[in-house]
Amino acid sequence: MEIGYYFALSALLFCVGLVGVLIRRNAIVLFMCIELMLNAINLTLAAAARMWGGPDGQVFVFFVIVVAAAEVVVGLALIVNLFFRRGTVDVDVPQLLRY
């Protein structure tokens, strides 16, 4: 198959994730969208690695997965904490860092 299809699917997935991040307010959904974007990138990396026959891309995919896992650990902790304190998972509610 042409690599272009992989790239197109990847771009599509990335855009879906991006739009989700921009328009949704639920923190958990935001997380899922971010995962989506990361996976879109993973797809690109894997496809490209396969096409050029190099191991770099695949190695990088592992890195991304590890970072994403770490992010989820920290992020879920934050979300749980937020929920206990504010009773909501709406990311627009906590505005302590505004001017």
Partner: protein, 649 residues
């Protein structure tokens, strides 16, 4: 003519330069240091010493005087230029200024005048300042002044001289404003200080120029290399130093502070504003006379400023009624004579007049102080009269001072003034000679007026004043100064007398200038003219103020109407100055202030305010909304991608 005015001293002996660290000259550093110690001691122990402070100060002055006499004795025995090394003052790269003392014939003369008159004034103040609330502090200041003046006189380079120059200015300021409770006195002190700063700027620029030309500020270096000066540089140097000297010595156009300085206690007027500090300008110009002779034009400027000052001071003195103001304008006028002397190449005659003037003007001021003491501090000459019987000692000593300044032979003032005028004539300055002679007539007139109004006639004061002779501490200095005013003639009774020859090695050689006499009048004729001038002045004053009907009061004055008004208002010079410098200067200063506060501060504060305002606007971006940040993140990424795409293509 050749009888008295022997051949001009051509090719005079030049002093040998000797490093002196032993003997009395080795101790010469004590001369200024002892009064400094006196100053510190009196100030520190004011409470403990109280009235005894005077004796500490007098003792300090006496020690300085005795040391000066010792130095003078050594100088007479073995004349030379002695340099007493003390230590380094400033050392920057190749530039070195030392605290060294420079003792030659001129210094010796100045030392004796300063410490001698200084000592007498210290003693006089014991009686005059008795009972003053700040009695001890007065003596401390007198000691400080003595120290400063001695630093000025002894300094071996222009910087040390300048240190003394500024210190005497400070002492003068402190003493003029001694009774600072009166706002008028405090402002007189400020006027003196500020007017002198104008001259100091000129002096300093002169110093910088001298350094750039000679590469040194030591008098030795300057005097030795003076002959290498280009005429333009010499003229510039002369005029710049003249600017400094004119402020200190109250010459046109910077004389205005001196009459106001009379606000200070009378001993101060005698010591600082008649005998010593005001002559510092003359001292400076004579000290630099080897530079002066390189620019005849510069010297002519000095002579003309001098003679103009003679006339201006004398004319104003004609219609002043305050006995101290008359003497103050007289001082301005007499200092003019000294500058005439310097300007026409009669440096030594100028110094001679400086010395005799210190004697008789010191005497006259102290006499005026004695009169004020008797008259409960009144100073209006029209409210006096008839003090001859009441104050015999003051009367007789004043008479000597009056005759001396009026130019009556054989008193000292006659010789010194006549010698300057003769020299002016012999050096071809006919106009200056004639104007100087006119000045002599005026001097004799106003000084006679001063004397007659105070001492002769019937008393014109009310019964509330009970004049009495002053205490011995005041009359004794009067007597000593009176004797000196007479005996001063012996210093230089003929043109090329002892003082003239004594000072020969230290002054510039004028023989290269090639002066020629202004006309055929022989010297005896010139002397006769000077005698006649004095006689005319005294005679006229006698007719008006003794023979005249004094009951008519000021109506009697020979100068009436507009002329009198102009003289009484001192040619409106103060008014012009206050218009030009105070008002217009004030406007300029106001504009400067506006520029500073609005423009300069505005730019600085504006920068601060601007960044604050910018911050106030941009902090709105910090919404705390996560998705907003994500959006701007995206936007940035898009821009970057767009940029990459376009640049790759």
């Amino acid at each position: 003519m050749t009888l008295l005015l022997a051949a001009e001293g051509h090719g005079e002996a030049v002093n040998e330069v000797v490093q002196a660290t032993t003997g009395l000259l080795g101790l010469s550093w004590l001369i200024p240091v002892v009064p400094l110690l006196g100053f510190v001691l009196v100030l520190a122990l004011t409470k403990t010493l109280r009235e005894r402070a005077a004796f500490v100060a007098i003792a300090a002055a006496a020690v300085s005087f005795l040391l000066s006499v010792g130095v003078a004795a050594q100088m007479l025995g073995d004349p030379a230029t002695y340099v007493r090394p003390i230590g380094t003052f400033i050392e920057v790269g190749g530039f070195e200024v030392a605290w060294d003392l420079y003792i030659d014939q001129l210094t010796t003369v100045m030392l004796l005048v300063v410490t001698g008159v200084g000592l007498l004034v210290h003693i006089y103040s014991l009686g005059y300042m008795h009972g003053d609330v700040r009695f001890a502090r007065f003596f401390a200041y007198l000691n400080l002044f003595l120290f400063s003046m001695l630093v000025l006189v002894l300094g071996a380079n222009l910087v040390t001289l300048f240190v003394g120059w500024e210190l005497v200015g400070l002492s003068s300021y402190l003493l003029i404003g001694f009774w600072f409770e009166k706002a008028e006195y405090a402002s007189a002190a400020k006027k003196a200080f500020i007017t002198n700063r104008v001259g100091d700027v000129s002096f300093m620029i002169g110093m910088f120029l001298a350094f750039s030309v000679f590469g040194t500020l030591d008098f030795l270096g300057i005097i030795e290399n003076a002959e290498t000066l280009a005429s333009g540089t010499a003229l510039a140097l002369v005029l710049l130093f003249l600017g400094g000297a004119a402020a200190k010595s109250a010459q046109i156009p910077l004389y205005v502070w001196l009459p106001d300085a009379m606000a200070g206690p009378t001993p101060v007027s005698a010591l600082i504003h008649a005998a010593t500090m005001v002559t510092a300008g003359v001292y400076l110009t004579v000290r630099l006379s080897p530079v002066l002779v390189q620019s005849v034009t510069g010297m002519e400027v000095i002579a003309w400023i001098g003679v103009a000052t003679v006339l201006l001071g004398a004319l104003i003195a004609l219609r002043q009624d305050d006995i101290k103001k008359i003497l103050a304008y007289s001082t301005v006028s007499q200092l003019g004579y000294m500058f005439v002397g310097v300007g026409v190449g009669a440096f030594r005659e100028g110094i001679f007049h400086l010395v005799t003037h210190a004697f008789f003007k010191g005497l006259l001021f102290l006499a005026a102080g004695s009169v004020m003491h008797a008259m409960a501090n009144r100073t209006d000459a029209w409210g006096m009269g008839g003090l001859r019987k009441v104050m015999p000692i003051t009367f007789w000593t004043s008479a000597i001072g009056w005759l001396a300044i009026s130019g009556v032979p054989p008193l000292s003032g006659f010789f010194s003034k006549d010698q300057i005028l003769t020299e002016a004539y012999m050096h071809g300055y006919f106009g200056i000679w004639l104007l100087g002679l006119l000045g002599a007539v005026l001097t004799a007139f106003y000084m006679s007026r001063w004397f007659f109004l105070i001492f002769l006639g019937k008393p014109r004061f009310g019964h509330d004043v009970h004049p009495h002779e002053s205490p011995a501490s005041m009359t004794a200095p009067l007597i000593v100064l009176a004797v000196l005013s007479v005996a001063g003639s012996l210093l230089n009774p003929v043109h090329h007398g002892p003082l003239y020859n004594f000072l020969a090695p230290v002054v510039g050689d004028v023989s290269a200038i090639g002066y020629e006499a202004a006309g055929p009048i022989p010297e005896l004729g010139l002397i006769g003219a000077a005698v006649v001038a004095g006689a005319i002045g005294i005679g006229l004053a006698f007719l008006v103020y003794v023979k005249g009907d004094l009951s008519r009061g000021r109506m009697l004055e020979p100068i009436r109407g507009t002329a009198a008004e102009v003289l009484e208002r001192k040619f409106y010079v103060d008014e012009v100055y206050s218009l030009v410098f105070v008002r217009i200067g004030g406007r300029i200063a106001d504009a400067m202030v506006w520029f500073d506060t609005r423009i300069v501060d505005g730019v600085v504060n504006g920068a601060g305010a601007g960044s604050l305002a910018l911050g106030r606007v941009t902090r709105r971006a910090q919404t705390g909304l996560v998705r907003g940040y994500a959006a701007s993140f995206l936007l940035g990424a898009l821009v970057l991608v767009g940029f990459l795409v376009f640049s790759v293509r």
